[in-house]
Each structure stands twice: as C-alpha cells, then as structure tokens.
C-alpha cells in the first residue's frame, strides 16, 4: 500500500552539526503521526526539509508515492503537502477573508471552484471564526490566529498538514478545544503533529516518532512510547531534570 508520506535516509547538516541523520519515517493513509523530541532534536528541520524549505543533503521524500524531494515549497504545497509554523504566521495587516482569499487563489481552480472564496463560510463556521470574517488578522487572539492558520491550509484541501506545535502558547481550555478541532479534521486530511504538550500527542496521534539529535530513537503507539526507557531518559525524563 502506498504511504501518505514516506522519507528514506534523510540527511541534513548545518556546518559540522548534523540535524537529520539517515531519517526514514513513513505515515500511512488515514494515520495521524506525532513527533516529539527535545529542543534542537531536528523536528522543525524535518518539516522544513520535507516541505522544501530546506535543501536536503541526501534522501528521498514522497507524498502518496510521488517523489516531492527537490521541489520548491510552493510546488510541494500544490501537490497537497502543507505546513504551519511554530510561531503563528498570518497576514497580520489583512482581514481574515483576505487571508483566506490569498490562501485559496493558487488552488481554487484545481478544486473546481469558480470563485476563490467558495466554501469559505462553511470553513469559517466550522472553525468558529465566522464573526471575525472582516476582522484584521493581527487583532485576533492567538487561538483565533491558530485557527485562521488552519483554515488557510484547509481551504486548499491538502492531503497532509504538518503542524509545528499547534497549541503553542494556548491556555488549557484552548488546548482542549484545539485537540477536539484537530480530531474532527482527521477524517478530512492527514495530520502530522510536532508537540511538546504530551496531552495533544496522547489524544491525537495514532503513532509517535521520537527524535533525539536528528535520529529516530523510538517509534510506536503513544502509550508504549511513554514507557520506553530510551524515551524517558532522553526526553520525558529530561523535563523533570531541567525543571528541578
């Protein structure tokens, strides 16, 4: 069966520091994959490399069996692989509707729409942003901006969205809402989630990959990962150590 996302032997180094070491990861169709690891373990580098924001030193990347390695980021987004950023990124000076129009413009014809804003109201209603349609994105709350960011990806009907810490900076109530939102999205498109908040990973991911210094040290169901001695030593345990 073809995998939704498959990487083989990814290598990337910055100067002498190797950020990704021979990384082979795959994500099945319909599967939600989580990725955890200490700061600087290469999680964001992995997203950057897969989505074309970084050039790889070696390795293969394919989306639904088609090679996407070496393509430019916009072409990879066109192919159906989109990403969000750790620090939320929206067009702060533009209204919500205009943000979505920009996001839809390169895709709406491919999706068979005649207007870039077709279907936008349904999407906004689903994400609870409908009353904010004409609001300037910069004046939204962080949680609203995170949802707008999601809406800007969903409007192009991607096959896979790679989320870089989707609940970063959110409060516990918002985190619960965001988890629910992402759970509902799992039927629409594949999700790949980087998170430090274990609650998100536990509830959302079908499988978790643990990265340490650019290497995969564990790979399995969330519950199993929590008990993995290696993971506890390198990641989970380290939280307790650093927080004293």
């Amino acid at each position: 069966m073809t995998k939704l996302l498959e990487t083989r032997g990814l290598n990337k180094s910055f100067g002498g520091v190797s950020a990704l070491k021979d990384l082979s990861i795959h994500q099945d169709m319909g599967e939600t994959l989580g990725m955890i690891g200490p700061n600087g373990s290469g999680k964001t580098t992995f997203i950057n490399a897969v989505t074309g924001h970084l050039t790889l030193d070696g390795g293969e990347v394919s989306l639904e069996g088609k090679v996407i390695r070496g393509k430019r980021p916009h072409a990879i987004a066109q192919a159906g692989l989109e990403r969000t950023y750790q620090a939320v990124r929206v067009y702060a000076q533009l209204p919500v509707a205009e943000n979505l129009r920009v996001a839809a413009l390169p895709h709406y014809r491919r999706l068979g729409y005649s207007n870039p804003l077709d279907g936008v109201d349904v999407l906004l209603a689903k994400l609870g942003l409908k009353p904010k349609k004409e609001t300037v994105a910069g004046s939204l709350t962080l949680f609203e901006q995170r949802r707008l960011e999601l809406a800007m990806r969903l409007i192009s009907r991607p096959k896979l969205i790679m989320l870089d810490e989707p609940v970063g900076g959110l409060n516990p109530t918002e985190i619960r809402e965001m988890i629910q939102l992402l759970k509902d999205l799992r039927t629409e498109c594949g999700l790949f989630v980087i998170e430090h908040t274990m609650k998100v990973i536990m509830e959302l991911a079908d499988r978790v990959v643990v990265l340490v210094s650019g290497e995969m040290i564990a790979n399995g169901a969330p519950v199993a990962i929590l008990q993995d001695a290696n993971v506890i030593r390198h990641y989970l345990g380290s939280i307790r150590v650093t927080s004293r």
Binding site: P73, H74, R83, V90, Y91, L94, L105, V136, S156
Partner: protein
C-alpha cells in the same frame, strides 16, 4: 461605488484635458509634462516599492536604458519612436529582471543596498559608453515623436506632446490599478507581507517577483523614452541615483501601495522645484521641510494617511454599530 467610478472618470477626463487648459503658457505646460512623466514613473515604481515591498534604487538606471535604447534607434537607425519605444522599454524590462534577481535572495535593507550599487554601476556605464550616450556631454536635439499620417507626418509638438504624456500617464495608472486588483496584485501584497508564508501556501514567489520586476522596469523604460523625447536632451545625470530617490520620495510622500498615492505625491512634489524658482534660496529648504513634515506627521504619506484615517474611523463605527454585518457592503 457609483460615485467612485464617476470620480475616476472625472479625474481621467481632467488629466487628459489639462494640457489644453495650460496650452497658453509654455512654462506651465512644461511643468505639467514633467508632472505626467513622474506620475508614470512613480506609479511604476510603486508596483515594486509599495505593493511588493522592494525598493528599486536602480529605477532611474533602468529608465536610462529605455531612454538610450530608444534615442539611439530613433536618431541613428531612423526607426519610428513608436517602434523604438517598446524596444527600449523591453530592454529596460529584461535588464530589470536580471538585475532584480538579487531580490530573490536579499531582503529589505540589503536589497536596497544592492539597488544602490547597481544604480551606480549603470550611471558609470552611461558615462563610459559614449558611442551610445555621448558620455557626460549628453545627447541633445532629440526630436519629438511624430505620428505618421497618410502622405505626411504630424510631429507631436507643444500641447500635443503634453497630451501624449497625459495619455501615457493615464494608461500607466490604469495598468497598475488593473494589476493590483488582479491575482498578481494580491500575490505581490502577500509577498510583501510575508514571503515565507506566501510560498508555503502554494504561491510561486520567485515567478511573481520576477513578473513585478518586469512590469515595473517596463514602465521605467517607457518613462525614460518619453523623457528623452520630451526634454530633447539626456545625459547620464538625467538617470542617476537622485532621480531614483526623487521618484521614491514621491511615492512615499503620496502613499506607498495605493493607486492615488503616487499621483498625489507627484502633484505636490514634482512642480515645486520649477514653481519656486524665484525663491531659489529657500527652494530646497521648503522641499526638505515638506518631506520632514510628512515623514513625522503623515508617515503613510499624504493619501496613505487619509486612507488609513478613513479605514480606522469606519472600523470604529462598525465596532460601535449593533449590526456589523451591514457595516460593509
């Protein structure tokens, strides 16, 4: 929006009628001609500096390439101005795209700096290829364009030359307005606001940037060709960094990233050096004072600040209104 369309039509008619109203006075007519040239130039630069967020300091150099190409074709190869001008503009556009390539890598200040270097190099080039530019001496007695009629040619002199510039300026403003409302225009603004995000959303940033450079440089070249054949004289000084800076000043003074901004900026700034000639001692002080005043009190430019003021007031009213759905059409 009906009153808005009426205003646009009225402005267009006024712009096309003004040369005839000023026909009686050559001095004012000349200032008007210069004003049209700068409306054309600043609107073209605005596409890059205002809408795409890249400050092209080599703009005057590109205009120079358009001007020298056209002048050489007309004066040495006896090509009609109307054939030579598009060739000159295309030359400027191609050079502009090539020289704009650093923008794919450089951002903000560093791109501006690269533009300054390129502009300086172009000015030197104009000085050091006298077979095409006559060097610092400059090329004089450039003939005005003429329209070939059956049996004879009708030279565009006097009021007809200003009218030609008026048509060129109006067409340029309409072109820029059309572009900014197109998909390309939306992409350019998106690139200005956040190029990384724009790329991640599936928009080809490189292609759209190159397109912006092409169109903007094309307009610079058209302006250069008209400038040469309007003034009748060009030298490398006509297309030095000061011309770039003046054009940019006009755009910023009126309002970057707005259609009317460059027009408002030109109407205020372009005539000043000529109108204040009697006050030559204070001319530069008044000019500088105006710019300082605008920078401090109207940082978005004269028209840009007006738009901003109107928008914030509308937003405040919408927030206070019980039915926000109705507040916007």
């Amino acid at each position: 929006m009906a009153h808005r369309r009426a205003a646009v039509v009225a402005l267009t008619i006024l712009a096309l009628a003004l040369p005839f109203l000023f026909a009686g006075n050559r001095f004012y007519a000349f200032i008007l001609g210069i004003t049209y040239l700068y409306i054309l130039w600043s609107s073209g630069m605005n596409l890059l500096s205002g809408f795409t967020g890249l400050m092209p300091l080599m703009y005057a150099g590109l205009a120079g390439i358009g001007a020298y190409t056209t002048v050489n074709l007309v004066m040495k190869a006896s090509v009609s101005f109307w054939l030579a001008m598009p060739v000159g503009a295309l030359a400027a556009a191609v050079v502009g795209v090539v020289l704009g390539l650093p923008s794919l890598r450089l951002r903000g200040f560093y791109f501006t700096l690269s533009g300054l270097v390129i502009q300086t190099a172009l000015t030197m080039l104009f000085v050091y290829v006298p077979q095409f530019t006559a060097g610092d001496t400059g090329i004089s007695q450039i003939p005005p364009p003429s329209i070939p009629l059956p049996g004879r040619t009708f030279p565009l002199t006097g009021v007809w030359l200003e009218e030609t510039l008026a048509v060129a300026a109006v067409l340029t403003v309409y072109l820029v307005r059309w572009i900014t409302r197109s998909t390309l225009g939306t992409y350019l603004v998106a690139i200005r606001e956040d190029d990384l995000l724009t790329e991640a959303l599936g928009i080809d940033v490189v292609r759209n940037r190159v397109l912006a450079f092409f169109i903007s440089s094309l307009i610079a070249g058209v302006g250069g060709a008209f400038y040469a054949h309007y003034m009748g004289f060009v030298s490398p000084r006509s297309f030095d960094v000061l011309t770039s800076l003046n054009t940019w000043l006009i755009v910023g003074f009126g309002g970057q990233g707005t259609i009317l901004g460059p027009i408002v900026g030109t109407l205020i700034l372009a005539p000043i050096p000529y109108l204040l000639q009697e006050l030559y001692l204070y001319k530069d002080i008044i000019y500088g004072g105006l710019i300082v005043f605008t920078t401090i009190f109207l940082p978005r430019g004269v028209y840009g600040s007006f738009l901003f003021y109107r928008r914030t007031r509308a937003a405040a009213r919408a927030a206070a209104s019980p039915k926000p759905e109705v507040a916007r059409s």
